[in-house]
Amino acid sequence: MSPNLVIVPKTKLAERLATVVVAACIAALLYSIFKNPHFEWQIVFANFTVPAMLKGLLVTLELTFFAVFFGFPLGTIVAAMRQADSKLLQSVSWFYVWVFRSVPMLVQLFFWFNIAALYPRLALTLPGLGELYSFPTNHVLTGFSAAVLALVLHDAAYTSEIIRTGLRSVPTGQRDAARALGFTNSGVMYNIVFPQAFRVILPAAGNQIISTLKATSVVSVIALKDVLYSAQEIYERTYDVIPLLIVASLWYLVVTSLLSMGQYWIEGRLSRKDEPL
């Protein structure tokens, strides 16, 4: 029994083979990307930061911001209704999530964009006082506000499920223990439930914001000038379809990467040992 025998780990043949195959594919892909003249990289770079694209980027960011800014509070309310004692509130919450998760975003967008066909005028009417204020629906629900409305309602349905799952991930014993110590309901939520639910909510919420960002691209069908529509406007003039689609994709990649980085940073902070509250 010599102690000087050399230990040889077993060779992972399949993995080696896969590595070679994948490397070859990457090489072929890169070769085609840079050698295929139809990519027209010079057009991609020329159009990447043209004012029309940057305006489109701003619209995309605005839509995402409004969708998240209003969608999260609305989703929180829907989630809270689901936890309520009232059967009616529970049912309304369930129904809301059912409808807005089931109907595709694109269909919802068309709906809100064409809502004037259903309700031509919006009016504020109080019993006894009659109609206080009224205006044509089309004045309020322009393309942008219809898009925001559709995104918010759609987002809230998903967000409410994310928040509900997060709250349910905290065992009831935690609430019991906090109540037994003398915390009020809001104290229980703020000190004990939310800090724990947050770890479950955050990664899902991050994914939700990213998918909202991408979902905003559907607004191009109602001629709202977001990143995608701006790219389309340019290529309809110049016929550089692929290069402009690459420009749009690159912008989505940039923003999504920034959002992911923010998400990882916050998650990293949360997974550290908590500082005193």
Partner: protein, 251 residues
């Protein structure tokens, strides 16, 4: 005079009687062991004492103050969340699964309630917490996170977390249910120390050896009723009721 008085308390959960006209008085500074088979209603009774569970009828008083309700004429109106929370802060409770807050260090688990609820100074409470941790031999774990500790350690921290609020009564729900047998006796010793310091305690258990070791008064519960109530040695050696005798034989 800080008696805990439970009078004629009844409770149903979805039609099933859980507590059936329970009356029990725990005089100040004394220990009452609620003994009985599982499903006999003893844990529910405990949770009613700090209004974690509502009662359907009857009345619970601590120090003469009605828990969870305000009397007006011949009606009891449920108190606001804030008022109930204030009452709960005077009642310590230790849960079967300890329910320590996993996102907070041991020390934070202990000091959060005195700081947030009693508005005490962090420095003072921290000193007090470390002293209490020392008495249970866990001062070196002050900065650990609860999930990294053993069941017995978590249990003692849960007790310290309740004690630091200087409660008028301590409630223990099956404190030994999740402990290995060796730790049961040391838990009994710890609780006896508390009783020597004249802490009023209600301890729920179905474990005979533990109940014996605790001494004090024992109330035997079955089917939501207190069947027999008396000093530990009497009840264990000369049970008056056939059901008690049967339970003692089986265990």
């Amino acid at each position: 005079m800080s008696d805990l008085e439970i009078s004629c308390v009844s409770k149903k959960i979805s039609g099933k009687i859980i507590l059936d006209d329970v009356t029990l008085i725990v005089p100040s500074g004394q220990t009452c062991v609620l003994l009985g088979p599982s499903g006999s209603g003893k844990s529910t009774l405990l949770r009613c004492i700090n209004h974690l569970d509502r009662i359907d009828s009857g009345i619970i008083r601590l120090n003469g103050e009605i828990i969870g309700y305000r009397q007006s004429g011949d009606k009891l109106y449920e108190l606001s969340g804030r008022e109930i929370a204030r009452q709960r802060s005077r009642i310590g409770m230790v849960f079967q699964q300890y329910n320590l807050f996993p996102h907070l260090s041991v020390l934070e688990n202990i000091v959060i309630a005195p700081i947030k609820i009693l508005k005490k100074k962090r420095g003072d409470v921290t000193d007090q917490a470390l002293t209490l941790l020392k008495t249970v031999g866990l001062e070196s774990h002050a900065h650990a996170l609860p999930p990294s500790l053993s069941g017995g350690q978590q249990q003692r921290i849960a007790i310290v977390r309740a004690l630091i609020m200087q409660p008028e009564v301590m409630l223990f729900d099956e404190p030994t249910a999740a402990l290995d047998p060796e730790l049961v006796q040391s838990m009994a010793r710890l609780l006896k120390q508390l009783s020597e310091q004249a802490m009023t305690m209600v301890i729920v258990t179905h474990e005979l050896s533990f109940a014996r070791a605790l001494q004090g008064n024992v109330a035997f519960m079955d089917n939501g009723r207190i069947i027999e109530h008396g000093p530990s040695h009497n009840l264990f050696t000369h049970p008056k009721h056939a059901r008690t005798a049967e339970f003692l034989r089986q265990s």
